[in-house]
């Protein structure tokens, strides 16, 4: 067991594409759940729309890479409208039920063999990198240092990802200190009170769903950028992982989603490496493969502990208990 290697692998995830993808999705959830109180349990579907929207428009329709990103965004907006218009007039819990079901429906549509020529069904999609890599301004070589050393393509993905996170954070920060954000937070607290003050609650909720969905789709695009689109990634547990990251950092904070995603991935990688290592030297009484799934149990325990003991997250205001009221 090489502890230095394990640590290096773990901290490498501070700016890995997966971390950036989670951060974007978690920013989307912070808008929807943290600020507007919309319990969107289908963030995985938004990420799938971003990823498939990007890959399909590049592979099937020959779009340039940025066109693929736009398709992902437009797709997520349409998805938000389809989900939101019938459900946002209902009580909050119904949105959770509908989104979790819609996410499964969407995943199964991407998985079914009927659309194999477009979606690749169970094999997913790959080989859509030409346009994106052709636009890479970095010449061949390695970039970064230590654990964060990456190829030119890796550096390009990371640059785009970090830029997207920065822009998203800026938008969320600007909106949440504006009167628009104030209405949203009011809706989270009590939508009838806000309605009685003359605000079109439905419209604000739909705007929040759409905005958060766009961030989720961008997360999906970044998730797909470095490698491939695999339908097995966009399962319900992805939604729960993003929620874990969000709640860890703080649901109603600007930087919480980013901090939470970083901690989530660094810890995940650390545990994923150290637990099999411990098992192989006989410290843990289980096999290596069992040990590596142990981390998911630990994620579940961590989520419970956060919600019970620090529901406002690491960055959240101490007085502000977002999850429990």
């Amino acid at each position: 067991m090489d502890l230095a290697q394990i640590l290096s692998n773990s901290v490498a995830f501070i700016i890995a594409p997966a971390t950036i993808a989670y951060a974007l999705a978690a920013i989307g959830l912070s808008v929807q759940f943290g600020y507007a109180g919309l319990l969107n349990m289908g963030i995985a579907a938004y990420m799938a729309i971003g990823a498939y929207g990007y890959a399909i428009s590049v592979l099937t329709f020959g779009f340039p890479w940025w066109g693929g990103v736009l398709v992902g965004i437009v797709g997520s907006v349409i998805f938000s409208l389809i989900l939101g218009i019938p459900t946002l007039r209902l009580r909050g819990d119904y949105l959770a039920i509908v989104t979790i079901a819609a996410a499964e429906v969407l995943r199964l549509l991407f998985l079914t063999a009927t659309f194999d020529s477009v979606t690749g069904s169970a094999d997913g999609l790959s080989g859509y990198h030409n346009s994106f890599r052709a636009a890479n301004p970095f010449p061949e070589g390695t970039y970064g240092f230590g654990p964060w050393e990456m190829s030119a393509n890796g550096a390009w993905v990371t640059t785009i990802g970090v830029l997207l996170v920065a822009v998203s954070l800026l938008v969320v920060w600007a909106l949440m200190r504006s009167p628009w954000g104030r209405v949203l937070k009011g809706i989270r607290e009590d939508e009838d009170a806000v309605r009685a003050l003359g605000k079109n609650v439905f419209s604000f909720k739909l705007q929040a769903l759409v905005l958060g969905g766009v961030f989720g789709a961008l997360g999906g695009v970044v998730y797909a950028l470095p490698s491939s689109v695999n339908p097995g990634s966009y399962v319900t547990s992805l939604t729960f992982f993003v929620y874990t990251a969000l709640l860890l950092g703080g649901a109603a904070t600007v930087f919480g989603p980013v901090l939470g995603s970083i901690l989530f991935w660094v810890l995940q990688t650390f545990l994923g490496n150290i637990l099999p290592g411990l098992a192989s030297i006989g410290v843990l009484p289980v096999s290596s493969s069992q040990a590596s799934t142990l981390r998911f149990i630990l994620v579940g325990v961590a989520l419970m502990l956060i919600v019970i003991f620090r529901p406002q997250g690491i960055l959240g205001n101490k007085k502000e208990l977002t999850f429990v009221k």
């Binding site: 909106l175 607290e189 009590d190 009685a196 605000k199």
Partner: protein
């Protein structure tokens, strides 16, 4: 209270200034359920609302007088709050039509009703807990540029207006004695303070008609006095007030007009003192013992002060 009860403290004038006169001559003809008003702000016709087999509201005709304080009283389950919800667009009637300021309100959603100048408070206060008191107040202002998604992104477009709204909010908070609490979460306020906050927040929108659902429930006597003054101030400022209340002292004290509901119908209306003498109202709601101290009813207190 009967006169024999010894008063431990000399009666203090409840109001520091001269008592404000009640509005009279609001109606045309004899006061009766559905009587026409000289200058009605709300005119409702044939409003019914049923929940399953229960007819919660069945109002044939009702007019609310402008620039007066109207009390809506009646026993629990009489349909007062349902009528409130119907008038403010929070619920839809099965039949009927009603106008506010001459404009039809049928099928107008609640937020548009509020924008037209008809704001309400709730029986169970709805303070927005995780917003500060000041944010609660600022949310109440109408027509905010920064509430548009795209304009909200650029503070230059809304900062000036926001400053004005903040000043107005601070002035109102001083009036309602909540200015010391302005940076606290509304969740940290007591029940009575939340009532005050909700009322102050409603006033942020410069309403024409203020509808208060049990403004005094759960408020201590000293605060009641200042709330009463606030309500009378609203009328002086040209607003119309409609409130639901069970405290008969309050109704008598500030209402210019009283509407009594029972089993979904308006059973009586008129000036407060006359309505409270109405045998139908006493039967349906007030009971025969409204003037007698509770202690006398239960036998634990005698007028002579010995027990």
């Amino acid at each position: 209270m009967s006169s024999e009860i010894p008063e431990p403290v000399p009666p203090v004038s409840p109001m520091p200034h001269a008592p404000r006169p009640k509005s009279v001559g609001l109606h045309k003809g004899e006061p009766a359920p559905g009587v026409a008003k000289v200058d009605p702000i709300i005119v409702a016709d044939g409003i019914t609302r049923t929940f399953g087999g229960l007819t919660a509201v069945n109002v044939e005709h009702l007019e609310i007088p402008r620039n007066a304080i109207t009390a809506l009283i009646g026993p629990n389950g009489a349909g007062k709050t349902t009528l409130f919800n119907l008038l403010t667009g929070f619920d839809k009637p099965d039949t009927g039509s009603w106008t506010f300021d001459g404009k039809s309100l049928s099928n107008v959603p609640a937020y548009r009703v509020a924008r037209m100048g008809q704001v309400r408070t709730f029986q169970l206060t709805k303070a927005l807990g995780l917003l500060t008191v000041l944010e609660n107040m600022k949310l109440g202002a109408k027509g905010q540029t920064g509430e548009n998604f795209f304009q909200g992104l650029f503070p230059a477009l809304w900062r000036k207006q926001d400053k004005e709204i903040e000043q107005k909010a601070l002035d109102l908070l001083v009036k309602f004695k909540l200015d010391a609490k302005k940076d606290d979460f509304a969740a940290s306020l007591s029940g009575g303070q939340r009532k005050l906050l909700e009322m102050a927040r409603a006033l942020m929108s410069d309403p024409v008609l203020v509808m208060l659902d049990e403004p005094m429930a759960g408020v201590n006597p000293a605060l009641t006095q200042s709330l009463l003054d606030k309500i009378l101030d609203l009328k002086d400022e040209g607003m119309t007030v409609l409130f639901v209340e069970h405290d008969m002292h309050m109704v008598r004290h500030i209402a210019d007009w009283v509407i009594v509901m029972a089993e979904g119908q308006v059973v009586a209306e008129g000036p407060p003192l006359e309505v409270m003498q109405n045998p139908a109202v006493i039967d349906a709601y007030l009971g025969a013992h409204q003037e007698i101290d509770l202690g006398e009813l239960t036998g634990r207190y005698t007028p002579e002060g010995k027990n």
